[in-house]
Symmetry: D2
Subunit: 112 residues, 4 copies
């Protein structure tokens, strides 16, 4: 296992968690389509799964590949949900972050 | 410290956490005033502080009085936020639960 | 989706979370083999994955089948870890609870 | 409220959370006095309160001063617990981080 891959994954999941929580505050303020249940729920799921993934890695648990695998899936779903708001800079940033986090979590789940 | 008071407080905080998360799903579905940022944020804060309070008690930590004290405050704020929706049964249930949880957390913070 | 299966799963995951956290306090007190890193880490992973699983279900998220599937795996690992302490009542209770929770989470991941 | 103070506090709490979880893995490996219940419990409390504090700030909740105030207290307790291991570099790093986080959280609770 490469320590630097894991270190990068911990940092990426941390950033993704933070961005998703900030995105929720933004989306609730905007209201309308931004505050639809499925979008907010997906952002909450993504923030929570990123936090769980970070904690499992920091605990040096042998289960980190499986939690990273699921985290990648949830990040994919969140990127897709954010992609529905092309004219919103904050949603585009969140989409890009979720993509990066999904990529790294997938790599961790295979080679971490 | 009375074990039964702590046991009741753990259960009450668990119930309050669950009801607040269910209330969020309900409020996002209803939309409009139900989905205002301050209301959803308060419900999220309450669910999280209840979970933290439960975990600190289950760890038998000497800090449980302080976390229960803050949890009572957050539950009070959440009860007040829910009280703004008198014609909504789910909000009334959540308000009542937050009141009960605040009372028990306050008792724990003083005598637990 | 059967609501009652989900309701039972939420309750079971909540109970399993609580029992795992109490088991950690117990194991740290006992020390020695009880406090080995792999055992405590597994108990912490199980408590956290149960909490995540509960939250995803309470949010009525479409991802609950996937989180329940992973939760079942982590509960299996925790039951196995607790099974190494046959002469300890608290470990036996935790093992039994993890088994029940794993069963219900598996059912949710297939039919929930 | 100064955004940069809050941003720094979010980052500091995130670092403190991560370091405390890594410290737990380290302490359980070392065993003996490092794995005493009160020390591990304090590290777990600190990691959890830091996470709660981060989440409340990221949600832009008006309750962030109160959660930061309690977070500072828990960080103080954790720094004190780590200070009992002067010959251990990882404990010294954790102690220093908890001090920094406590300072910043206290500043947030007064001026944030």
């Amino acid at each position: 296992m490469s320590l630097s891959l894991m270190q990068r994954c911990i940092e990426e999941c941390g950033r993704c968690h933070d961005l998703c929580l900030q995105a929720i505050a933004h989306c609730l303020r905007k209201g309308g389509r931004h505050a639809e249940p499925s979008h907010i729920t997906t952002l909450l799921d993504c923030a929570e799964m990123c936090a769980t993934s970070v904690n499992v890695m920091l605990r040096e648990s042998p289960r980190h590949r499986r939690t990273c695998e699921l985290c990648a899936e949830v990040c994919d779903a969140c990127a897709k949900s954010c992609a529905g708001f092309h004219d919103d800079d904050e949603m585009r940033r969140c989409e890009a972050e979720c993509h990066r986090c999904a990529e790294l979590c997938r790599e961790m789940s295979r080679n971490g």
